[in-house]
Amino acid sequence: MKLIKRLVLVSALLTMIFAVAACEYETDEITLGEGDWESNEFHNQITRFIIEYGYGIDVNIDTVDTALLVQGLREGTIHVNMEMWGDNIPTFQDDLDQGYYEIVSVNFDDNYQGLYIPQYLAEQHEGLRTIQDLPEYKHLFPDPEVSNWDPEVHQAVVHGGPSGWAVTNFLQTKFENEDLYPGLVEHFVFRPSESTTLLNTTMLSAYEDEEPWVGYNWEPTWILGQLDMLLLEDEYEYDADTGAGNPPTQDVTVVVTADFESDYPEIHAFLSNYETSSAITADGLAYMQTEDASTEEAARWWLREYEDLWSNWVTEDAHTAIMDALDTYDD
């Protein structure tokens, strides 16, 4: 009995302590959504620095999967997404029509995506430049899932992005379209990678061994900034329904939730001016790789380097405050 009494007492005490500790103070902070790729992290760090030091509002960064990010934007738990790849999100247009969130600016629109091969492979095989050339070079791309792979019998592998991405669906359609791409349908299997890390790992390990590799990727990423990769052309014009052609460059936009403008008018004004380019982004990402810097360090480097660009986005006061804050870091 004594033991039970003691147990009850202790657990009651613990409950009280937890109850006290769980008291939360309501905070005013902006939540940025973040996917698992670097350019997104990089833009978020720039934005965070500008908002925190320029406008004095705390910024919280939420790293989640794309689908959850969209869900967060809809429900208002995530306020801003700096890199919305609208064409990759099936519900994007619908959500805009419903007014869940709005586009305030185009972050960059000079990006490429499609099937890439390493540059060294292109040099070894002069004839391999387009997607139509792939069947002829089938023997280069064995399927790791098949033991004793034989190009006469088995299909070769093209690595894809995560299933569920619109571009993955598009490429899947391409590899099922027998009228336009009979060679691809017959000789290749398009295999989605369930995480971008997996996709990049297969690419990187092939690259390190100078082995052939073909698969999906997109710019701007650190990995394409660092590795010398070549985008395969397509002889056909782009058509989303038949899977023909290479996906056109798409608008990567900055989106904010519906009531963001009334809650944070100043930040809204700043985000509306936020415009960079693939090249500028890749610059920052390359800095990260070559200097072995964190995204935060890269963001600070970028803010120093591109002051002329971003000083037009923010108010005069914010500009001075940010420059002062930058001076306190010695990197």
């Binding site: 794309t66 033991s147 299933s163 569920g164 997996l198 297969t202 390990s205």
Partner: protein, 361 residues
């Protein structure tokens, strides 16, 4: 002044990750032949199990089951009966590998029209066979109620529309558990026999069980490429420790009078191990096997991140697209699969315990 006692100072840090990076690169390039070898072996075994699970026609299974019961009935020796089952399946596998999926042979048969078509027809294991097998297995190990329940659960997996994914997942689990068994049993015995081995193995087992599996998933891909092989590898790392620990425990906890009796009769160390210690520890080892299987089932979901197909991948994709229903359906299928495997293995463990206690039927 004493700031360095509060904030960790930079001059006390060293670059551990850089060291690991370099070690990994060296490791990967030096032993690449070994990894290629392991990869081929694993891929072959995975293919074989997939062939047995997917492409064995019904009459092979009927032959195996009938053979088991017939031999059990006439000779009363379970060992020979099981050997018969294994023999039938292996013979089938050889036929399958050497003839059915051999493109040159298929081509040859097509040209000679005298050989009937079914000779080279790609067979498919009927789902009903699985239900019969699970029922018979569970019936002989436990009681008919459990057997019925397990069959219904298996039926439900099919009704959910994830049968093929389940079979794929099962293939990875079977191979992982089998390899875990081959690695785990001798290590467990060694650990029980030698204090040094125990001292070395213990922290390694702790490491294997606690290190976040995400840490070794990507290196596994770099060593074994994308797909089922790194998935199996990661699953083995995660699931082998309980088997080693329980084998160790089983052998350590044998009552000393049994061992003394063995010694008194002058048994050699080998006789001691195979006639006294392992039989005495069998039920504990079976429990370890059960734990290992459960760990493997849990890991298979995570392994889908590195390209393993199956139930885990359904869960992953459903989550990415926020299809809650789909995710739960595949999730329940995993639970059912786990329950079926668990009850079967537990039945085995219980049976072994009875036979240890001398209550032989």
């Amino acid at each position: 002044m004493l700031d360095f006692l509060i904030e960790f100072p930079e001059w006390l840090m060293f670059n551990f990750s850089d060291f690991i990076d370099r070690a990994f690169v060296w490791f990967r390039s030096t032993f690449s032949f070994l990894f290629e070898f392991i990869r081929t072996v694993l891929l072959r075994s995975l293919d074989s199990v997939a062939a047995i699970l997917n492409s064995t026609p019904w009459f092979i299974w009927v032959l195996a089951i009938a053979g088991y019961y017939a031999i059990d009935y006439f000779t009363k020796r379970k060992g020979i009966a099981w050997l018969t089952v294994a023999g039938v399946l292996v013979l089938w596998l050889i036929y399958y590998n050497a003839i059915l999926i051999n493109p040159h042979f298929v081509q040859m048969v097509r040209e000679m029209e005298s050989i009937p078509w079914w000779f080279i027809e790609q067979p498919r294991t009927p789902w009903t066979i699985y239900i019969v097998l699970v029922f018979l297995g569970a019936y002989s190990l436990t009681e008919w109620k459990t057997a019925l329940l397990l069959s219904v659960l298996l039926f439900l997996i099919g009704a959910f529309g994830v049968w093929d994914a389940m079979v794929y997942t099962l293939g990875i689990i079977v191979i992982s558990v089998f390899i875990s068994f081959i690695i785990g049993l001798p290590l467990g015995i060694l650990m029980a026999k030698s204090l040094v081995v125990e001292k070395i193995l213990r922290p390694i087992l702790d490491l294997m069980q606690t290190i976040p599996s995400f840490v070794y998933l990507i290196p596994a891909v770099m060593l074994f490429q994308q797909g089922r092989v790194p998935a199996t590898f990661a699953t083995i790392i995660y699931s082998v420790p309980p088997l080693i620990r329980l084998t160790f425990l089983g052998i350590q906890n044998i009552e000393s009078d049994v061992v003394e009796a063995g010694e008194a009769f002058g048994s050699t160390p080998r006789q001691m191990l195979f006639k006294i210690e392992i039989p005495q520890a069998l039920s504990t080892i079976a429990t370890g096997l059960n734990q290992t299987t459960m760990m493997a089932v849990a890991m298979v979901v995570i392994a889908s991140l590195i390209g393993a197909d199956g139930l885990g991948r359904i869960v992953l994709i459903a989550n990415r697209q926020i299809q809650i229903g789909e995710g739960f359906t595949a999730g329940f299928a995993i639970v059912f699969l786990a329950i079926i495997l668990d009850r079967l293995l537990q039945g085995m463990a219980n049976k072994l315990e009875y036979s240890e206690a001398g209550i032989d039927e």
